[in-house]
């Protein structure tokens, strides 16, 4: 399966804390553990031509992962619309952490995707609520992260098709942290953790969820639906003319 990991890749260049945690960038870290799964993994970043998402790249991507934060506005609307069309055509999309505010996620959801947040080194526990889902494969009762940024409800998203995990935060909030959606022929997964100043993507359980999600989001091979003007069943065709 062909996977592309897209990253804004700005914090890594501007903040030595982030660069120390992710010397190959967040995209590099994610690509690295996905490669353990014998997937065909490539990366793309904001400052490449066409953000690294040329038609050739997109047409050959079966699952796209998206991490962005400080430069959502710099993502070109034309590219965003191409990504959306590819999702509707069947490409899987995994949106990570602050990607909740990316143009592509907001466009697919239709809502503001707003939320509460706080940076206070809080403990987070992600509790499993849908234990039979394949994305929860191998995950225990919860995943605990010693320190993370808090995201709190109300999270302004459409009710997810499936709610897989709910987060607890030390400071008093909860959050719908692992949500699936189907849009057109494509599958979309939002996964909350991953603030750039914490080593979250080095956590093996977080990696496991993302690996599972990539497999879950793979396109389902099918003839594409037909839209537009169509004929009736033969039996009544004569009558209807």
């Amino acid at each position: 399966m062909k996977v592309t990991v897209w990253n804004e890749n700005r914090h890594e260049k501007q903040n030595s804390v982030v660069a120390d945690i992710y010397p190959e960038g967040i995209h590099g870290a994610i690509a690295s553990f996905l490669k353990e799964e014998s997937l065909d993994v490539n990366t793309a970043t904001l400052d490449e031509p066409e953000h690294g998402l040329t038609d050739e790249v997109l047409n050959n991507t079966e699952v796209l992962l998206w991490w962005g934060h400080m430069a959502h506005d710099e993502v070109d609307d034309t590219i965003v619309e191409k990504v959306r069309q590819r999702v509707l055509d069947g490409m899987g999309l995994i949106v990570l952490h602050s990607g909740h505010f990316s143009k592509i996620f907001k466009k697919l959801m239709g809502t503001s995707c707003d939320l509460k947040w706080r940076e206070a080194d809080e403990k987070e526990r992600l509790w499993v609520v849908e234990p039979s889902h394949p994305i929860m494969d191998g995950i225990g009762q919860y995943i605990e992260l010693e320190k993370e940024e808090m995201y709190g409800e109300h999270f302004d998203i459409p009710a997810p098709d499936e709610l897989l995990m709910m987060s607890w935060f030390e400071g008093g909030e909860v959050f719908r942290s692992a949500c699936t959606y189907r849009r057109g022929q494509g599958k979309v997964f939002y996964f909350r953790p991953g603030h750039e100043t914490y080593p979250t993507y080095h956590n093996e359980e977080i990696q496991r969820v993302i690996k599972n999600a990539v497999r879950w989001a793979a396109p389902t091979p099918r003839t594409k639906p037909v839209y537009g003007n169509v004929k009736p069943i033969e039996q009544i065709e004569a009558k209807m003319k």
Copy 2:
């Protein structure tokens, strides 16, 4: 409750068949039966300034109904975005028939909203599948329409929060015809029937569904959610500083 019925109002001007069925326009017909419910009903149409949807009108509308077909592209993007913000702020939205392809519905859904169609004077039966829903109040097992345009699956929408009715068409197709969604603080209802060349909105059962939907879509009085940077619970505030 303040209700605004929006209509493109073009077929009525250009096609005498439509004008004969709806001498006051589709908006006039809908407004007329809604007024029986002691609602405060106004209308707005495409060719009015700002399509009749000024800030004053929108800010005073609690539920907006939308019928459009041949001129979706002429609806101004700025107005569409204002309507979307109002829905996210709590205004109810009822999208009728060919409104599936309106800018506002597509923007709130995030998908293409495409479908199959056929104009062949086919019998339609709308079967109730969620009988306890308030929008189904007073409706029997199904509503039968002697002649309607066919809309067929695949209908490229997000899975509805609630599927209330499924249509059967003589020529061999089915359709998800009555779908509810929540978006932000607002409620959205899509209702399939209502091709302009048939007297569908004169059908009392169809009227009943729309009346019920208006009541269901009324805003829920609440303090609006708070978004952005927030403080933790007091007990750990000190620790977190």
Copy 3:
């Protein structure tokens, strides 16, 4: 609307802490605030003949509330099945707190309805996640209870039709605390708070949720569905003989 509040009413008799908080019983406290809503409210308890749920009572109840805990097993299976049939026929059912383990709730859900729990005087915050729902009418961002019993995930229920509130607990857990279901013609609402040793049902926001839920759960007036062997549409009836 006719409402019956059912309560096990055992803790009140055996534990003076509970009796002090609820001198008229939990059922009495709930009936008392529901009466403010000009509803026709009655109560029924375990130790009455037929648990107070005679055919006459059930046939005249439009919404039933259920609080039980230490004596679920003493509820007669025949009565439970009668209640289930009434729900399928349209009666609303509101299951409170430890009622998650009641026979009626387990029978309607099909799962174990098991969960984690802890009695440790913990702070609970119930966060609103579906702000446009009528049961959330008048509720702010969250309801805070200074001390409650903890219930934690995994809660072994079917995914709710609508998830309205999620609880945060001081000790590290989260819970799906306000869940709606449709079963047959009836509406079911599960609402978590209400441990007998805390004055939870004296909290006005908790009361508001329950009042809203009673209105939401009211039966929808409709012709009942027809089941069994049926005829086809007239057009093809001849052909099919």
Copy 4:
């Protein structure tokens, strides 16, 4: 993966039409095409001791298929409860056609599972409504069956977690024909077609759906959830004592 195909196997013995279509029984036909998928497939039938569902068989079954019709009442309640526990523990369950009225399906759903029906050699078209779902892998826009028994709405089931296909019937009805549910750790799939007097299970597209469903329903490997009394996070354990 270990799969058990359970069949009532009575029509095959009593009706030569059925015996001619399914000389090895419905279970034999289903087992035969599942074996093409390199699955470890066994069968079990009503008239075997313990209906062929001994503890050893059940504990070694990862996905169970269920076809029953005329003898639902003869299935032993103890066996039904064992099957239910296995589903809640993670075993997949695929319920076929008239299995909608089986004790196991009704117990897991909590509703009557009633529906309309008619035996009139009607054309059925099963339309895909959730094209990205893995159970729809390889399926076109719809599956057409020249002759089948009609099942019509209202189908008294809980709203499915995912609605994958909707049936159109010549005589005027529609039906939710392919429905997924999660119950406990287990996945449940209901699939409508398969009346005993038609060669439905010889149809390759129907076979494809069932093959896909078996893979989808496979248990997800996880530590089982912990229920009951639990401790809080360490940080506040002292305070809470």
